[in-house]
Structures are given as C-alpha cells and as structure tokens.
C-alpha cells in the first residue's frame, strides 16, 4: 500500500508541474462554470420568445453581445446553455462506455478462452466501422433523441475501452495476488472487481479522459449532422449547422461563436487528457 500511495503523490506532483494540465484544466473549468452559472451571466432565455423573430440575425451589440440567431434568440445565452448540454451528454456517455467497457474488459481478460475469443471478434467487427457511422446507423434505427445520443456514444466507446482493460487485466491475472485470492476461495466477481479493478484504474482513468474529448467531438458532429434530437434544445453542433448558410452573407456571429466554443472546449479537455496520460505512462 505504501508503494501505491507514494506513486500517487508523485503523480500528483508531476501533474501540478505540467503546463498542459494547467492550461487544459483552466479552459475546461471555465466551461464548467459557464455551464452551471450561465443563467446569471445573461439576461435572456435561451429559448427566446415568439416576437424575437423580428430581430433575427442582428449583429453583436451592447444589447446582444454575440448578436442574435435565425429566430432572433440571444446567441450568448444559447452558447452558455449549449455548454450545459454538451457537458452533460459527453461525460455521461463516456461514463456509460467506461463502465460497460471495464466490465467487459475484466470478464474477457480474466476468463480468457472462448469467451475472450468470441467477444474479441465481435468487438473487432464493431471497431472496423468509424464511430460516427456506427452512431448514425443506430440513431437512424432508434430515432434521434438526446438519450439515444448518450447511449449510442456509450455503446461505441465500450469496445475501445474493453480492449484496453482486457490487455491490462490479462497481465494482472497472472500476478501472485490473483493466485492468492483464488487459493483463498474468492469468487471470480470478487477477484475481478475487488482485486484486479483497483490495479487497472490507471489505464481506465486515462481512457476516460481521452474518450471524453472524443465524446464531445462525436456528440457535436452528430448534432451537426442532424441526429441530435429536438432542434429547440441549445446545442453547439446544431447551431453551426443551422447558421453556416448565412456565412456568405457576412452573418458570421451565430456560427463563429459556437465554433470557437467547440474548439476551445475540445482543445482544453484534450490537453487535460494528455497531461493525465503522460503522468500515468511514465
């Protein structure tokens, strides 16, 4: 136990010294704050009101700092509400994928044999299709809804995470403490989740943070493509797909601001993930 806690302290110190960690962390945290306290920052309802339409596509002004969109709604307030949307969907989807993937990886890695063989083949088949296409396939089938998007991203992440966890479990399963537990007569569930799981947490945390970035990427790409569900729910990807038609008319605000928001959030999360991965890999 002492060895483990020393490495933990070391890791923390290393993390705190990393510039990428601080930059990525600050950006991410800022968006989280915006998402939570967005309502206090702007005076407008993200949903707008029916007469807003008369003031559609108004350029940024002191009244609307980021202008208005194609229904006359305040771009800034929709941007902040959109942060909430993506910061709920993406972590939830990643969490589902990580939990399912971890369970699957532990089982296949621990038991090995035909269970492993069969599962690996099915996962391989899954992985030979780009995420976004699998997601589109499923959403076309079940219909585009927010819950659908969360589940589908969780689903496509499962094999990826399972693969990582399986590899780590394979090497752990050969170690003495596992043999000892078996001799003690512990059941497979106990061995997998109580004994092995804590020792493979490192790769799981790394996978989680890396996948989080991709979950944001995928959620937004899906809503950009029109698979995001209710169009009135503020969403960055949807905002862009709704408004890039106006770009050639020099109406850049309803597109550019969400684009910048997306770029900053994904870069922030990714820098954070990179810093964490570096710490665990060394």
């Amino acid at each position: 136990m002492t060895i483990a806690s020393v490495t933990r302290t070391q890791r923390r110190n290393q993390l705190l010294r990393s510039a990428t960690f601080w930059v990525g962390g600050t950006i991410t945290l800022t968006w989280i704050v915006f998402a939570i306290f967005g309502d206090f920052i702007t005076q407008y309802e993200p949903a707008g009101s029916p007469t807003d339409i008369l003031n559609r596509l108004a350029p940024p002004s002191s009244e609307h700092l980021m202008g208005t969109d194609s229904l006359g709604r305040d771009v800034l307030s929709r941007l902040l509400a959109g942060a909430r949307q993506v910061l709920i969907i993406a972590p939830l989807a990643t969490l589902i994928g990580t939990m399912a993937g971890t369970a699957l990886g532990l089982v296949t890695g621990y038991f090995g044999g035909w269970i492993d063989e069969v599962t690996s083949r099915i996962l391989d088949a899954f992985l030979s299709i780009p995420l976004i296409i699998t997601a589109m396939l499923v959403l076309a089938a079940v219909g585009p809804t927010t819950v659908g998007v969360i589940l589908v991203i969780g689903l496509v992440f499962t094999p990826i995470i399972a693969r990582t966890v399986r590899a780590s479990t394979l090497s752990e399963a050969r170690l003495d403490y596992v043999t000892a537990a078996k001799l003690r007569g512990e059941g497979p569930l106990h061995i997998m989740f109580i004994e092995i799981l804590p020792n493979v947490m490192g790769p799981i945390i790394v996978e989680f943070t890396v996948r989080l970035g991709y979950a944001i990427f995928t959620t937004l790409a899906l809503s950009f493509l029109g698979f995001g569900g209710d169009p009135s729910v503020p969403d960055w990807g949807q905002s862009i797909s709704d408004h890039y038609v106006f770009l050639s008319g020099d109406i850049w605000w309803p597109t550019l601001f969400p684009a910048l928001a997306i770029a900053s959030l994904v870069v922030g999360v990714n820098l954070l993930a990179d810093a964490i991965a570096q710490v665990f890999e060394t």
Partner: protein, 570 residues
C-alpha cells in the same frame, strides 16, 4: 426551306438598323451565338425572333438564309472569312448552370413529391396544361372544353408534338399515362379530380376525353403541372414500367433531354431538338443537386451557378442582402399546415385548437421568418390568388393571448404536454420552434421531433397529435380542400370529420360560376376558421436568384422551372 428564308427576311425587315447590324454580324459569324442572343435581347429584339435567327446561324439553315440577304449589305462576306472565325465561335454552346434540391429518391414521375425532382422533371417532360404564376396555359394540350355540366372534359393535343426520341405523342399515350399513375403517388391527387379508373378515353390520335364521376369546374388544373406526376409519357414506357425505370432513358416532350445523370449529384441536359415549343435558347443545362441551401447559395455566390430557381427566404439572407443578385419573387399558394388531431388527444377539444391558433403571431412569422416574402394565413387553404377566395368572409386571426389563455382554462388543459412532428424542409424546423414558443405562452409544453421527409410521411404524417406538413402551390384550392380535410380524404392528418364541410367542398368543386363559388368559398373559410383542424400561419412566395441582367426565368410555386428563353446576364 422556303419558309425559313421567308421568316428570316421578315424578321430582318422588321428590325431596326442596329438590330439588322447585329443579325448580319452574327450571320457573318463575327458574333458568337451567345453574344448575339445577349446583345439582341438588350437591343430589344423579341425572343422568338432571336431564337429563330440564332438557329439559322447554327447549321444548314444558315446557308439557306444568308443566300437571301442582298449583296451590298454589311456582313454578307460569308465565303471569305468563315474558315477563321467559325473555329473560334461555332463551338460555343450556351450553357446554363442551375441548382436544384437533391432528389428525395429515384427520379420517376409517378413517385415524385419533392421540389428537387419536380424541378428536374419540369425540364424534361410536360403535362397537358401548365399552371403558371399568372394562370393556366396550354402545354401538350392545345385546347380543351367541358360538356355542359363539367363531368366530361375533352382535350386536343398539340399537332406535331414529339418525344425526345422523335416518336409522336398520341391520345393513347395520355390514356396510358393516367392509367399508369393511378397506383403511385398521384393516385390521391387524381382522386380529388373525380377521375375513375377507365375514365380516360382516346377519341382519335389527338383527342382525349376525361369522363368524371362528378362535375369538376377546374379540371384542367387537375391535369396541369400542379399535378406534377401527370407528365405525359409514351405507352411503351408504361408497358414496361418498374419503379425507377424512368432513369434508363428519361423520356419526355420537354425542352431538354438528359445526356448524363449521376444520382444525388447532378445531370447534364442538352436541348431536345424535337421540342414542340418555339424557342429554346440554352444548348446545355448543367444541373447540380444540393441537399441544403448552404452549399447551393455559396455555389451561386462563387459563380459556380447561374440560376437558383427556388430558395427559402429564411435561409437566403445572403442572397437577399446581396446587391449583385437579382431576386425574383412570385406569390404562390404554397403553405404549411400545422394539423391537430381532431379526434383523439389534446386537440380533440376545439377550444384547445382555437387557443393555439390565437397564440401564434403570424405577422411576426411573415415579417421575420419569411423576410416579408409571403402573406398571412387564416387557417384555411384558400389563398388570395385562388378563384373562390372571399376577402370578406372572416377577419384575419392575430395573436390574442387573452382569448387563447381563457380558452385553455375553459378546456382545463393548462400544463399539458404534446409532441410536434415536423419534417426537415426549408423553414419548417424554425416554424416548429415558433409554434413551441407560442404554446409555451398558453401553458402547453411542446417537444419537437424533426424527421426527414420519408420518415415523417411514413410514420407521423397521418398519425400524430400535432404535426407540420408542407403543401406546394396549386392554382386552384381543390386539392387543398379535398384530400387533407374531407372526412374521406386520404391525406387527412387532422382526422377532420365534418359532414357540413364535405357538402360545402363538393358544391365548391362542382361550381362553375365565379360569384357562386366565392360564396361557397367564404362559407368554407368561415367553417375552417372556427373549427381549426389546422393552423395555416402563412402562404409563402417563391424566391429565385439570378445574376443581374438575367432574363427569361419562369418559376412556379410548385417548383417547375421554365428556362427555354433564359439569357444569363452579368
């Protein structure tokens, strides 16, 4: 050949000096065909004349014609310098690059129901009559007349009309066409025309008779371009018909024929030399399909397109604001129907339907969403341009939240939740959100579900509590009043069932006297205004975009595009 010479001389003689000079320049091949037409139209020459002379200069006709011009006039030095100049100019086809909506499915006249495919087919094939923005005009049929009570209509086909492969159009083809489309999409539209199976009869080679179940005063509209499925195709096509077989040869009598077609991407069309009409200016038409307005608008602005025949004002800000773009606006009866299920659920109570109708701010929609390119709707599908519209029947509905809220409380449904199904098309998704906002003001929560047209029509169109459907332009209101609203109507999303209404519509459709029809129209307007099976918030104008100085583009609110006389400017 003698006729050609005579006509050429006539045109030339009637021309002004400047025009004569142009003609002679062209005949001497010092002007390209494109420049001749452009400059000739600017000089005020009539298009038929321009087209005729342009054709003379094109091929053998030129030889015949030029010999008749008198020596001594300018530009008769044909023999001397043709060798050098023809090389430079004769291979200069006039090409029009046009952007259409992406076809929602296979290009097959029986199956089409979307703007993209209507646009495309309108260049290749013709209906018997053409429903233009200004009224009905002959197309493949030259003339028509009803019997005394309007139950039998006789159409005479244009003499010498041919398909693009050179075979003549016969009355039997018309019979085959109307038999052939009875199974596909057009079935219901034909039903509204009271045309029974076997009701179409060929009297002789050029005469065809429609025997109807009931009198229809506006029957020529039922076989017009408004009924876009009813393009006339040869019997041989129908005999070997299969879904999509149209794409193997694209038969038709239209001004252009397909040279190359790539599904989902575009097509290259060339002039149909067998076209029955007088003039076709463009030699080639390059069609590009666009799945959304964005790509189409930027293609136009970058100069990759000459013509956008139709775009939505809600998305077309870039074009509307651009001083270098010529916008054509025509008033149409295209509209959206926000249907409410009158039999089950929240809207079975008439007061709730009325409340939602009073919560909608129509003026804001027209001014904002449509950029004023449209007019207010009053919850009935009879547009101001329709015969039978009564301007004094009912007052214009406007936002009235007090009345709306009172009605909601009376019905006791405050706090109700309902799903609004909409299809992805032009501004409908935005309209859905405006309806959602309107409902929120009277304590009704709406969830929006948007699907592509196929999914919407298959799953929700006829099976939803609340939905939005688009209806393209019709020159008369018959179709609008029939299938979507009659108790036996096949498109009746609102499940509207009102015997009094049915009787009124029957009388309206049969009526041939204008004043009497207006009287009936007024009663229909009042009934729908009160019952509100559907909210019709606005009628939409069709917007087209061309380069400055472009002339000769004709569009309809249904999506038809006429470019036979199109001259691209700029």
């Amino acid at each position: 050949m003698g006729d050609t010479n005579k006509r050429f001389d006539e045109i030339r003689d009637e021309s002004t000096d400047a025009e004569k000079a142009l003609i002679d320049e062209y005949m001497a091949r010092r002007l390209s065909r494109r420049d001749f037409i452009r400059r000739g139209s600017m000089a005020g020459m009539s298009l038929p004349a321009l087209g005729f002379i342009a054709a003379c200069g094109d091929g053998d006709g030129a030889e015949d014609a030029t010999t008749t011009t008198e020596p001594g006039d300018t530009g008769t030095t044909v023999g001397e310098d043709t060798t050098t100049t023809t090389e430079a100019m004769s291979d200069d086809p006039i090409t029009v690059r046009i952007g259409f909506g992406a076809p929602a499915g296979v290009v097959d006249p029986v199956l089409i129901n979307d703007e993209g495919r209507i646009q495309f087919i309108s260049l290749i094939a013709d209906t018997l009559t053409f429903s233009s923005a200004t009224g009905l005009r002959p197309a493949l049929a030259e003339s028509w007349e009803p019997n005394d009570d309007g139950t039998q209509w006789t159409f005479t086909l244009r003499e010498g009309a041919m398909y693009n492969d050179g075979t003549p159009v016969t009355a039997d083809d018309v019979v085959a066409t109307f038999e052939g489309i009875a199974g596909g999409n057009a079935a219901s539209a034909l039903g509204t025309g009271a045309l029974p199976p076997g009701g179409t009869v060929a009297v002789d080679e050029r005469t065809v008779q429609f025997n109807l179940d009931a009198p229809v005063g506006a029957f020529p509209y039922i076989v017009s371009s408004d009924n876009y499925n009813a393009v006339i195709l040869p019997r041989s096509y129908w005999d070997s018909y299969a879904e999509g077989s149209y794409e193997s040869s694209f038969p038709g009598t239209g001004p252009f024929m397909v040279e190359d077609f790539t599904p989902g991407q575009g097509a290259v069309l060339v002039r149909n030399e067998n076209y029955w009409g007088p003039t076709v200016v463009p030699d080639r038409v390059e069609v590009t399909f666009f799945a959304d307005d964005s790509a189409m608008i930027s293609a136009f602005q970058e100069g990759r397109l000459d013509v956008i025949p139709s775009f939505s004002a809600a998305n077309g800000q870039a074009l509307l604001n651009d001083p270098n773009v010529q916008i054509g606006v025509i008033e149409t009866s295209e509209h959206r129907q926000v249907h409410m299920n009158t039999q089950e659920g929240l809207f079975a109570d008439k007061r709730v339907r009325q409340a939602l109708a009073f919560a909608v701010n129509r003026q804001a929609m027209v001014d904002g969403l449509l950029a004023s390119n449209g007019s207010l709707g009053n919850d009935h599908p009879i547009a101001t341009l329709h015969p039978g519209y009564d301007p004094d029947a009912v007052e214009q509905k406007a936002e009235d939240l007090d009345t709306a809220n009172a009605l909601i409380d009376e019905a006791g449904v405050r706090g109700a939740e309902v799903t609004l199904n909409a299809l992805a098309f032009e501004e409908i998704e935005l309209l859905a959100q405006l309806i959602q906002g309107a409902a929120a003001q009277i304590g009704i929560t709406i969830d929006i579900q948007v699907d592509d047209a196929g999914t919407y029509y298959e799953n929700y169109w006829l099976d939803s509590t609340l939905g939005i459907t688009n209806y393209g332009h019709r020159g008369v209101a018959n179709v609008f009043l029939g299938a979507p609203l009659r108790s036996d109507g096949t498109w009746n999303s609102a499940k509207f069932n009102n015997p009094e209404y049915d009787a009124l519509v029957d009388a309206f459709v049969a009526e041939t006297d204008e004043a009497a029809q207006r009287e009936l129209g007024g009663q229909i307007q009042a009934l729908l205004w009160d019952e509100v099976p559907m909210i019709i918030p606005y009628f939409i104008s069709n917007n087209s975009a061309t380069r400055m100085g472009t002339t000769g583009l004709e569009t309809t609110g249904m999506g038809h595009v006429v470019i036979t006389e199109l001259i691209v400017g700029g």
